[in-house]
């Protein structure tokens, strides 16, 4: 679907950032997703100094919902000092949930419904809801109808000890039952991506993240988080490994496909806790308030394909769409920010974009989309090294892209991401 952008309202990124991403069960292990989301909103307000009365809407992406805060955008917004009369809703679209929040914000602004929208996302992998098994759940719910004490005898009838085992959700496709890692393994094999290529890519990602952190390049988008009750400050990501080597990575066993697998813990994005938030405004409104836009959001698209074979190829499908809409080529793009679910996945996407065959067969184009210059690609690290709190990554991508445009004096940024369900997304941003 083509999204035109001839509205009189332009949506811009005013401020964006995130609390530092942390490996799950580390600094944020005692916090709930609600807490993380609140900290990100707080950080955005702290950094931007925005008068919260100006905010019209709050959107947050999340993947694994806590049943107590299923509309987490609303709960976090209520607790973060945003006026109570500002509505909020939660978007969910697997790993591109906060991209969905961002593009929903863009639409609200382009259609003139809102002027100032906060869009962000959150995920905790330290506090995922673990359920009882179906049988036990059913029994528990039936007890609500019990009337006499003898009814409780029914409770134990047909219940086996194994029914009491907890049911821990896994990251697998509901439709195919396949884990994402296994799926990526297959896809990488199909496109001939070797283990070594994957490890090498992962190594670079970690090195770039370490270097960017060292140089303070990320500090503009990191909201220091103070974790109650001790309020110790978390100021940097603890997700990347500055000291990792190719040897170390090569030594790791395949994580999903034990026999011929190439996807390992080392070349996959880690389970991460984190939250992000961005202030997206109508350009004119921003200027009226003396806020300089970081970048204007241009064309974007969502794509989807059959999840079975190429679950995570989405970016390769989405990128040509937005480039065509903008009448741009890869050569016009100064900053690339792509979500790295797995090294094997990102390398597959890059290879697909470079492939004439892929272009002909899958994109209905006469020739390949092109080659992405790697010196412009994920220069400050990516999800492999910075971590990937599912619902929060999208906002990180657009924020980093805008900051890099400024730092690297570029004009256009291209952001793309894949997601479970065979989904994909791409968006173009322009520095003004």
């Amino acid at each position: 679907m083509i999204i035109s952008n001839n509205s009189t309202h332009e949506a811009i990124l005013a401020y964006g950032g995130r609390i530092p991403f942390q490996r799950s069960l580390t600094a944020y292990k005692d916090l709930s997703a609600f807490d993380l989301a609140r900290l990100a909103l707080e950080g955005l307000i702290t950094r931007s100094g925005i008068q919260t009365e100006l905010v019209d809407l709050v959107l947050m992406g999340t993947v694994i919902q806590d049943v107590n805060t299923s509309n987490i955008a609303r709960e976090a917004s209520l607790a973060a000092g945003i006026p109570k009369n500002v509505p909020a809703f939660t978007t969910t679209m697997a790993c591109i949930s906060s991209n969905a929040a961002v593009t929903s914000a863009i639409e609200k602004i382009r259609t003139g419904q809102n002027r100032v929208v906060i869009a962000g996302g959150v995920e905790t992998m330290s506090d995922i809801p673990i359920r009882f098994r179906k049988k036990f759940r059913q029994k528990l719910l039936e007890t609500r109808k019990y009337k006499s004490p003898t009814d409780f005898l029914k409770f134990f009838k047909g219940l086996r000890p194994s029914d009491l085992m907890p049911d821990i959700p896994s990251i697998s496709e509901y439709s195919t039952g396949e884990t994402m890692g296994a799926s990526c393994d297959k896809m990488a094999a199909k496109y001939g991506i070797t283990r070594e290529e994957q490890d090498r890519y992962a190594l670079q990602s970690h090195q770039k993240a370490a270097e960017a952190t060292e140089k303070g390049l990320l500090s503009g988008e990191l909201f220091p988080a103070a974790v109650p009750p001790r309020f110790e400050l978390v100021t940097v990501d603890n997700t990347f490994r500055a000291d990792t080597t190719l040897e170390k990575l090569a030594a790791l066993k395949p994580a999903f496909e034990k026999k011929y697998g190439t996807v390992t813990a080392g070349n996959s994005s880690a389970l991460t806790d984190g939250a992000s938030a961005a202030l997206i405004m109508d350009r004119q409104t921003a200027e009226e308030h003396g806020i300089k836009p970081k970048a204007v959001f241009r064309s974007y698209t969502y794509v989807a394909q059959q999840p079975a074979d190429e679950l995570l190829i989405g970016p390769a499908m989405a990128v040509p769409v937005v480039l065509d809409q903008m009448r741009l080529t890869l050569g016009d793009i100064d900053v690339f920010e792509f979500h790295e679910a797995f090294a094997g996945q990102i390398l597959t996407v890059l290879k697909a974009l470079e492939s004439d065959e892929f272009a002909r067969e899958r994109l209905n184009r006469s020739s390949r989309v092109g080659e992405i210059p790697m010196d412009k690609f994920n220069s400050w690290g990516g999800s492999l090294s910075l971590g990937h709190p599912f619902g929060a990554t999208g906002t990180r991508l657009v924020t980093t892209a805008a900051n890099r445009l400024e730092k690297e004096d570029g004009q256009f940024a291209l952001v793309a991401a894949c997601a479970a369900g065979g989904l994909g997304h791409a968006i173009v941003m322009e520095r003004v």
């Binding site: 609140r38 307000i45 950094r47 100094g49 209520l78 109650p228």
Partner: protein, 703 residues
Amino acid sequence: MSILKVEKEGNVAVVTLNDPDEKVNKLNEKLIDQVTDFLDELRSDNSLRGAIIISGKENNFIAGADLDMLKARATAEELEEMSCVGQEVLLEIENFPKPIVACIHGSCMGGGTELALACHYRIISDSNETKIALSEVKLGLIPGMGGTQRLPRLIGIQKSLPYLLTGKNMYSRQAAKTGFADEVVNRNKLKQAGIRAVQKYANRKVERKDRRGFFERILENNGLGRLIIFSQAHKKTAAQTRGNYPAPPQIIESVRYGFKEGLKSGLRNESKIFGQMGVTPESKALVQLFFEMNKTKKNPGKEKAKQIKNIGVLGAGLMGSGIAQVSIENGYHVWLKDQKLERATGGKKTIYENLQKDVDKKIITPFERDEKLSLIHPTETYESFKTMDLVIEAVFEDLDLKRKIVAEVEAATNDQCIFASNTSSLPIKDIAANANRPENIIGMHYFSPVQKMPLLEIIKTDRTPDWVTATAYEAGLKQGKTIIVVNDGPGFYTTRIIAPFMNEALLLLEEGADIAQIDRAMKDFGFPVGPFANLDEVGIDVGAHVAGVLSDIFKARGGKTSQKATELVNAGYKGRKNQKGFYRYNGKKKEVNTDIYQFFGGQDRDRMDDEDIQFRIAMMMINEAVYCLQEGILMSPTDGDIGAIFGLGFPPFLGGPFRYIDREGADEILDFMQELENDYGRRFAPADLLQEYARQNKTFHSE
């Protein structure tokens, strides 16, 4: 105008209290008359089985007795008579053959609570806006419409005494637990519950469970046990009031008498004591103060005030985090800046810990804590200060530093942003000397601990436009402060008058007096803490600094100033903050640090006359207050009274320095000062204005 609106809902009369002329309902003659008329109607109307009393105000049942009634009566007899009239109506309610039910939401104070106590059944809302109190004691009075009789009979003597003696609030949880409330329901269900209660009890008596504990019952159910209770209460009260407040012991007496002689005599006796208390100077001072304090709750320049949304606070120490905490109470977002983010975050942590105490006490929920806490934005940069409407600095008391901060803030903020200095002594015009926008600079002087100390002293200069003062005033009100506005000068008002007070205490010490005696004597006089304990809290270094800033003024008048504070600071004594002060802070009990006597002539201390100590120290403060009025630092004697009481702990029952002079007579005070001047030197020279008032036999207050 009718305050009572009576509607019939089936066979129940719904009586809605809503005084159209007032923001809150007050118990006054008009209301009592209308209630009497209604009772006649209820008695004769056979279609009515009973009545409920409910309020038409948003968050108020009855805010207490109308204090104008007190003002209108000069003698104890008139006051007693007034109380008797009220007692009769309430007795009529209590003995009424049909059930009358009180349905309470919002504040229910004094006479409102007494009305509720006379009703047959009480239903209160579960809202935290609902506060029940017998607050008369705070005005130097005793409850005069059965409060001292009916409350102990309803909830027990031991449970009732704290409420009677301190005037503290009873919230819905406690009301249910003590048995004050027969039912607690949602505010929207009050009427419905009330109507049902009337129907239920139309033909039978209300039976309620005795909610007293086993030991409470044992003690309270016999004369000897009660004797023990009352004698203990007297002892505790005497220790707390130091004999300065006549009402609390009389409250205990009134309860005692009622249990001995029965309800009817108890009520008569209560009215008598009420009359007596109403004419005490203590009560008159406290009632005046109440009026004056209420007046400060209105911003005189409200229409000129600009709206404030974002506040910056510089310095995240005790003072800064305190200012930040009171600022979030009403929803301001606060950027708490310190040089290092760790320190700014530390300030937020302090606030978290304070809020957590309220969570532990179930006053707020964890969500409400998070909600408040999110309004604090710790930072180490000015990057987001462009949107600040008000920046309050609470950095170290150093003129150069403050000027540097002014320059930084001016560069980081917009032209409309107000810069407020929480200086305790430096003149605002000096702080503003090099400013680009000196007219936006004002003083907002808070007192530590900010969360507890009610006063805010706003200091304006001759360049301060009205909108700046009005906006600062508005912020102060939102922070829950009692505010005075004064003119600029070294130490402005409060610091200016505390300095000679402290100076005199130090001089007494130099003369050989004893630290513990001085502190005790001043507490006996009515100050909440003694001067040395206070100096330890504030910091001896701060005291020395203040003495330095003000010494020129006192020297010019030929006053002797103690140099001891500086000497102590040089020797490393800073007070509580470094555990080295006039007291020791390592042990469990606070003991005088006798080491410090080496600076004051050795370990042998002289016992001095308590009154000498009290008057020398207090008079220095009182005389200085007159100087402040004379020099135009103060704009009114009322500001002087409020500032001294709420900022410095001047004894409230004395009404403040100016009320005190009025009460004693300016000529008396003048004589006294001249005597002190003869004995102790020039520093006691009475202010010219005091001499003038004495000569012309004038008072500072007209009423």
